[in-house]
């Protein structure tokens, strides 16, 4: 399916989705509430069949915190990027997708560890790399690192 058809098909499901400029992939910004619903349809409808979540990253845009989902269909070979953003820096949370793509379980724990974004209904929402008593979320732009070896 080419990008135009893909976009039209997704806009049918979520009319609020906005396209972002990207040369490589079709990138769509979604309202967070629609994420899990759309993810299920992307995985399960036969003509979309996005079965491979090949990258899941958190990004701190300073004004907003975002989670970026890179999806691919192993059957149809088309790819798609989905983004969700939130203004809430104190208690940011999104729905988990690890019931749909199992690889998300570890990646979401990593995002929680580094950005402090919580994922609702995640089976094991703990830090993955840092200790449980680590203060702050290192990959946020406002994180102050007292012993930054790079700045020395």
């Amino acid at each position: 399916m080419d990008n135009e058809t893909l976009k039209a098909r997704i806009l049918e499901i979520v009319p609020e989705a906005q396209q972002e400029e990207n040369k490589q992939f079709l990138t769509l910004l979604l309202p967070a509430a629609k994420l899990h619903d759309l993810a299920l349809k992307l995985k399960n409808s036969p003509e979309l069949a996005f079965d491979f979540l090949f990258c899941l990253s958190g990004v701190d845009y300073i004004k907003q915190l975002a989670v970026v989902y890179h999806l691919r269909s192993t059957q149809h070979k088309h790819a798609l990027v989905i983004k969700v953003k939130t203004d809430d820096r104190v208690n940011p949370n999104f729905d988990t997708v690890c019931d749909i793509w199992r690889t998300a379980e570890f990646h979401e724990r990593e995002i929680y560890d580094m950005f402090g974004i919580r994922f609702n209904n995640h089976p094991d929402m703990r830090r993955i790399f840092l200790e449980e008593d680590w203060k702050g979320y290192p990959l946020r732009k406002d994180y102050i690192d007292e012993v930054n070896i790079v700045e020395f």
């Binding site: 090949f54 990258c55 990004v59 192993t74 199992r102 790399f129 990959l139």
Partner: protein, 375 residues
């Protein structure tokens, strides 16, 4: 005292207990701790505890320029150092729309395949050792030495080369390079038959690996298990085929697929991949075109604002590089989608119901490199 002696044996068998495998355990090949929940000798579930060598490479990248980032990527998966460097270079060149000389593409592809062979050699060595065949370890490391010597001569480093740079490679290949690669191919083609004689057809090895750690194709896709581990489940996920870069679109090679989905299947994929890698090198080594070893690049590399993604096939699977740039000389955000991190996530799923000795074999067949998980 009497009560303990009278305790029925079956109670002990039914009781669940936990043991820690690692952080210092030979079969985890690094500092990884698996909290294994056991019933008797059977694995009920396990929880990996990572982060013992987390260095915060993604955070460090935000302070470094793109040429500096390359040196950090060596340290992610140190056995695929060339391939990781290659990924950063491809991303920068794609963003700046730089066309690299043909010679560079040849050199990079040969180096990538040498990296893949030596990585698989080390994997084979430690796989054999994990299952009790110490001879493998000596054989594998002995043959790997030849590749390290080739690298030392051309790149100046045996292990963490940082040989690629945006636009090309750091310096031209050594005059002995082609001769030495030929010598290696000739030697290794004989030696790899020994590998098969020791392990592949060995009854003990087959009993320990066949039917152990079944990973279905659907699960491999869902857990994102790429590379030889995914291809051992019949999933065609080789980035060199699906999205060819450098010379991969122009050389003839087969994507190795096996459909048994077990530990033996993942083992055989890697063994055959070594033959395919040698095949690729043979097609390129005598035809390296003359020319510059690097394209002209600006002194300060700034990526136009935007988001970029680059995938390459490392020795362990798909390495994804996601960069958000704000137009500065340092990346705003750099994310490494490393293959071992996703491959680790499936370990719990495929080792349930297996014996604890099988867990060692399964772990070895996934070929985990711990810095690749922790970053």
């Amino acid at each position: 005292m009497k009560e303990i002696i009278n305790l029925p044996v079956s109670n002990i068998e039914e009781e669940e207990y936990h043991i820690n495998m690692g952080p210092q355990h030979p079969s985890t090949h690094g500092v990884l701790r698996l909290l294994v929940s056991l019933q008797g000798e059977m694995v009920r579930s396990l929880k990996p505890h990572c982060g013992y060598i987390h260095r915060g490479i993604e955070k460090m990248c935000e302070k470094d320029t793109y040429p500096q980032v390359i040196h950090l990527t060596d340290r992610i998966d140190y056995l695929s150092a060339h391939i990781n460097n290659h990924a950063v270079c491809l991303l920068v060149e794609k963003a700046l729309e730089v066309d690299v000389p043909e010679r560079v593409r040849y050199i990079r592809t040969i180096m990538d395949e040498l990296a893949r062979i030596q990585s698989h050699q080390l994997w084979w060595s430690s796989f054999g050792m994990d299952l009790g065949g110490l001879t493998c370890f000596f054989y594998g490391l002995r043959d790997r030495e030849m590749i390290l010597d080739i690298w030392e001569e051309t790149t100046g480093s045996r292990f963490l080369q940082s040989y690629n740079c945006p636009g090309g490679v750091m310096q031209d290949i050594h005059p002995n390079f082609q001769k030495k690669v030929h010598a290696f191919l000739k030697t290794f083609k004989k030696k790899i038959k020994d590998y098969d004689r020791i392990l592949s057809g060995n009854v003990i090895f087959e009993n320990r690996s066949q039917g152990v750690g079944i990973l279905s194709k659907e699960d491999a896709i869902s857990y994102g298990v790429t590379g030889p581990s995914g291809r051992g489940s019949g999933w065609s996920c080789d980035v060199r085929k699906t999205e060819p870069y450098s010379m991969y679109g122009k050389v003839q090679f087969n994507e190795v697929l096996r459909y048994e989905c077990d530990t033996y299947s993942r083992y055989m994929v890697r063994m055959q991949e070594m033959h395919e890698s040698m095949n690729i090198i043979e097609q390129l080594i005598d035809n390296i075109p003359e020319g510059e070893h690097s394209a002209k690049m600006k002194a300060v590399i700034k990526l136009p604002a935007g988001e970029y993604f680059q995938r390459v096939e490392s020795a362990r699977g798909e390495l994804g590089l996601f960069v958000v740039s704000d137009g500065n000389k340092t990346p705003y955000r750099m994310k490494f989608r490393t293959p071992s991190f996703s491959n680790l996530s499936v370990l719990d799923h495929i080792s349930r119901g297996m014996k604890i000795a099988d867990l060692v074999a399964i772990g070895a067949s996934l070929d985990l490199v711990i810095p690749d998980i922790d970053r």
